[in-house]
């Protein structure tokens, strides 16, 4: 739980953000560094959750801030800066993951060809692995929603703001994501029981 002192400090920083943003737009590196220090850990955390790769998540964190600083003049303050930054993060990560998934799919095809006689029920019985694989296989819009809500603990309101969708759409996506996961995991569990 966040301590009162930390909460006060966080509120004080949020109050300073408009000034810092104006200074960044004017080219002030120190102000940019302050914003970066305040938001980078959470941006990295989200990028890592969505990529599962430390180096890639660091790259995408960099790209998020580079893009955010370049576009900061267009930030109107209609949402919190953190929400806006997380929107940029999801956009950057989604673009990157499209390329990465294509690349990994080619690698997976090769691996599958070499392991054609392997019985996955015996060699890979772990529910956790199955769950992670099932999450990875979710269509991106459902995966992002599921990870943000059920893994990272964002609220529907926050996710809706970050993704630029209605809250009802967010709930619907989460429901679809959970449904698909249950189907995949259910099939696995039944098969394993037999």
């Amino acid at each position: 739980m966040t301590s009162p002192a930390v909460a006060v400090e966080a509120k004080r920083f949020v109050n300073r953000e408009p000034e810092l943003i104006a200074r960044v737009v004017a080219g002030d590196r120190q102000a940019a560094r302050e914003l970066y220090d305040a938001h980078a850990p959470r941006v990295f955390r989200l990028a890592f959750r969505l990529t599962g790769d430390n180096e890639l998540a660091q790259e995408l964190t960099q790209e998020t801030f580079i893009r955010a600083f370049a576009q900061l003049g267009r930030f109107r303050g209609e949402s919190a800066l953190s929400t806006w930054l997380h929107r940029v993060t999801v956009s950057v990560v989604s673009n990157a993951m499209r390329k990465v998934k294509r690349f990994r799919a080619r690698e997976a095809d090769l691996e599958e060809a070499s392991l054609i006689t392997t019985d996955t029920r015996v060699t890979d019985p772990d529910l956790r692995d199955q769950l992670y694989r099932a999450i990875d296989e979710l269509p991106e819009i459902y995966r992002v929603t599921f990870v943000m809500h059920d893994v990272e603990g964002y609220t529907h309101d926050e996710i809706a703001n970050v993704l630029g969708i209605a809250e009802g759409t967010c709930k619907s996506r989460l429901s679809v994501a959970r449904h698909q996961l249950r189907q995949k995991l259910g099939a696995f569990a039944k098969e394993w029981m037999e």
Binding site: V25, A32, F44, E55, Q62, L72, R128, I135, S175
Partner: protein, 219 residues
């Protein structure tokens, strides 16, 4: 269908909490990322902040800058620096040089230049996996490598290269950058992948980031 229709069991929720569990970022990680961001966002690679749009650094060269650039290029060609080893030979050299760069003692005005340069090199190499996964090196990417190659040669011809460890680093990075610049589209994918794998297997990028952070810390 509502959210409540698909409640997940606690066991699944608990397991999901560990999905792609992120490591804690330390100060060195944050500083290294910042070094690359600062270079891209504030040092001419991205013209959007605090100034009117301008062409990228290659187009921003003044006549005064072109003179030493030309001289260094002629010198570079003359001494035959393009006799490149194969990729597998390049990465260990880079790695060794990066290690040695940790304790570089570059002084005066060249320290900030070196810091920016290493930040740019870090950003470029960090983007290599994305280029490789796309199947070929994009022209903007090769353009950035070209810019860095010119800067490398300027630094090699400057007092900054008097530091033997930094000189070794520059020479090694020059070879890598030259390889990237010379990539042909037909062979780009395979060559990029080779460069990427060699750099990855030897953990070069984190080491380079550490070198950036250490040099920046001496600013």
């Amino acid at each position: 269908m509502t959210n409540d229709d698909e409640r997940i069991p606690d066991s699944i929720r608990t397991a999901a909490a560990d999905y792609n569990a992120p490591p804690e970022l330390n100060r060195a990680d944050l500083d290294a990322m910042w070094a690359a961001i600062e270079v891209e966002a504030f040092d001419g690679m991205r013209p959007d902040i605090g100034r009117a749009p301008a062409p990228r650094s290659r187009g921003m060269l003044s006549a005064a800058n072109l003179m030493p650039l030309a001289a260094v290029l002629v010198l570079g060609v003359a001494i035959g620096r393009f006799s490149l080893p194969r990729t597998a030979d390049v990465a260990p050299q880079v790695m060794a040089s990066v290690d040695s760069a940790r304790n570089s003692t570059i002084e005066g005005p060249y320290q900030s230049t070196a810091s920016r340069y290493l930040g740019q090199a870090t950003a470029l190499l960090a983007a290599l996996p994305m280029e490789a996964s796309a199947g070929s090196a994009s022209e903007p990417y090769k353009g950035r490598a070209h810019d860095l190659l010119l800067t490398t040669r300027l630094l090699l011809d400057s007092p900054a290269a008097a530091d033997p460890r930094f000189r070794t680093l520059l020479e090694d990075l020059e070879l890598v950058l030259a390889q990237v610049v010379r990539l042909q589209s037909a062979e780009s994918s395979a060559e990029l992948e080779l460069i990427r794998q060699a750099l990855e297997q030897r953990d070069v990028l984190p080491r380079l980031r550490t070198a950036v952070a250490n040099i920046s810390a001496d600013d």
